[in-house]
């Protein structure tokens, strides 16, 4: 039963990172590699806030805020000037930004090269549903993720901002000429997606008691796998793909053992899905 809790928590973290990534891909058609850097910045901000306040929620807020600011800075500083260049240009810029952020965070005057511990307590009681027991942090992660994913989904389906995103996703120029304020809509997208990545960074850091400058790499390449699996741009698809990947990973680690390292499984799943359903689990055929 530990396993089920494990699967749900892993799913949650993957979903938080992937949802931001997939909506950003939707509006901008950029593979936002620097999302990994945004994630790492969130962890760093959480650590600073935790060290000065000791509070869980304040640290979470700091992580979301710092990541949101970092995401916005990347949009305005990097992607916006490159909006009309071929899509490989912002991709390269994004890779560069990620590497720079990671290297900077490793400097001793920032986060430094060592992993640091983040033993924050959310105060949410550890629930038990019959056989299924969750620790406090597991419950916190699951709760926050459900709120966030449902929130983003409603935002997209029910608000003018969501309508604008959908319009931009279909055709950016057409949307602009129909009176959608591109800049505001895309910036809002970065703001929200990055804040979610910051939240994920903080929550995973507490769950594993590890804050690291290089934390963004592994989790965000898995998020890319998820984004593709779920159908590029689809929020429910990303959530479902997070569940699929987390389940495969956790069960394979538990029962098959490490024939393959856990992280390689993500790519196996990706290859399998690309061969069988190149449009992703939920994506529509032909874009």
């Amino acid at each position: 039963m530990d396993l089920l809790a494990n699967v749900i928590v892993t799913t949650s973290i993957y979903a938080l990172v992937a949802v931001g990534l997939t909506t950003i891909y939707g509006v901008l058609r950029v593979l936002h590699i620097a999302h990994a850097g945004v994630y790492a910045i969130g962890g760093f901000a959480a650590l600073l806030a935790y060290r000065s306040s000791g509070g869980f929620w304040l640290s979470l807020l700091a992580a979301m805020l710092a990541s949101a600011v970092a995401g916005l800075a990347i949009y305005y500083g990097l992607y916006r000037p490159l909006l009309d260049s071929p899509r490989s240009v912002p991709l390269l810029a994004s890779i560069g930004a990620f590497i720079a952020i990671e290297a900077l965070l490793q400097r001793p005057f920032l986060l430094g090269p060592s992993p640091e511990s983040l033993p924050a307590e959310s105060g949410i009681p550890a629930p038990r549903l019959g056989e299924l027991a969750f620790t406090s942090i597991q419950a916190t992660i699951i709760l926050l993720t459900v709120l966030a994913v449902v929130g983003v989904y409603l935002l997209i389906r029910r608000t003018r901002l969501g309508l604008a995103w959908r319009a931009i996703t279909q055709d950016r120029l057409m949307a602009a000429s129909s009176g959608v304020n591109l800049d505001t809509a895309i910036a809002a997208n970065f703001l929200i997606g990055s804040a979610l990545a910051g939240a994920a960074a903080m929550l995973w850091a507490v769950y594993t008691n590890t804050v690291q400058a290089i934390a963004g790499g592994v989790i965000s390449y898995k998020a890319f796998v998820i984004v593709v699996l779920g159908g590029l741009g689809s929020v429910p698809g990303a959530a479902l793909a997070s569940l699929v990947l987390a389940t495969v990973e956790v069960l394979a680690t538990r029962y098959i053992g490490t024939l393959l390292p856990r992280d390689a499984i993500a790519f196996l799943v990706l290859i399998a899905v690309l061969m069988l359903r190149p449009e992703g689990l939920i994506g529509r055929r032909s874009a």
Partner: protein
Amino acid sequence: MRGSARLLTILAAALLVVAGCGGGATPAPTSPPAKATEASKPAAASPAAGSPVASPAAAASPAAKPDASPATASPVASPAAAAPPAAKPATGEPITVGFFSPTTGPMAADGLNARNGAELAADRVNLSGGVNGRPLRLAIYDDAGDPAQAANLARRLVQEDRALAVVSGAYSPPTTAAAPIFQQASIPLLSAYAVSPRITAAGEFVFRAGPAAAIEGAAAAIFTKENLPNSPKRVSIVAADLDPTIQLAEAFKAQAPKEGLEVVSEDKFALQENDFRPLLGRVRSANSDVVYSPAFFANAANILTQAKELGITTPFVFASSADSYKVFELARDNAAEGAYLVTDYDRSNRPVVQAFIADFKARFGNDPDIVAAGSYDAVLATAEAMRRASSLEGRAIREAIAQLKNLEDLVTGPVEEVSAERDFVRALALQVGRNGQWTSFATVPWSRITR
């Protein structure tokens, strides 16, 4: 399907890049073998060097005398662990010794500690007369944990810095990549703590100060059988999926039957893994008496914390790769109390060790771990060999290293001699986590391990 083929190509490329960054070999393209050559100040400028440590063994030792030759060296040959009161700081033309460690990338924490250890040692050497009056100058490079960068910097050390000898404060893969280059140039290389057998296989110019994987893994099996409570029989192995840690696991497995141990399960995890809960569930169902885990310190802290959370009470034995105070810092709820660690860095009450810990802490602000201690010792041993060498030519230094004997004052434990396989012969230690630090628990002599 407009443009989807192109998109997938770009995506695949992007994933490769990110995967490359995320995986073991990290980029640090921002720092091409960043040359940070730095003359270790011969003067008493550094705070640690400013406080000569009273070490009875060292004070009585004649090692700092320039004329101590390998053949006639006294049984207690101390490689300048502390400056005898009379010794003068070295002046004269500096002698260049190369040093490299991963100060960027995923191993950067270890790399910085290793470099700090080496610098502390160089200052020690220089305060106590240097090498026959000439100061040691470290030419320091960053290998970023990347074998390709290590090979590049090795060529630079040979061609540009004209290093007379080199100390590796790096892990096995970079050291393995650099070793043949020094071998070919007839420049002695002393690897501080890397365990891979492939390192010394490069040839007669390549030495190892720490234990090889075969030795350390075998010692772990011996300790497990002889020193752990309740005489365990069933062992689970959980290893980080990296060359040195896998080698340790293999060595443990090879020794286990000789000690009457049965390896009942064997698992690997990625270096950067930090959620071990599914893997620990698997270990629990193997129903073993003890877990041997060659892992890195962050892995060890996570494993211990999460095992405690899952209510697993099986004792864990870690390898020298996890030998760091950071295990206690990162583990929650005192989960590292009672964990075991096999290492050559025995934190005993030997005065040299206590002095080294105090000096290191005063200068760098943290406890020295195995990589710091190992690099410190490797620099001291190299300097000692240079003092004893008939000349400062590569082959003469090589011979002097091969003939080193009875280095009593190395902080990673006294070295009896250098074996035919060019490994330093020494006892290994079992440490246990107590009151937030690694403390001495047991030792096993080299002769017992190689029996």
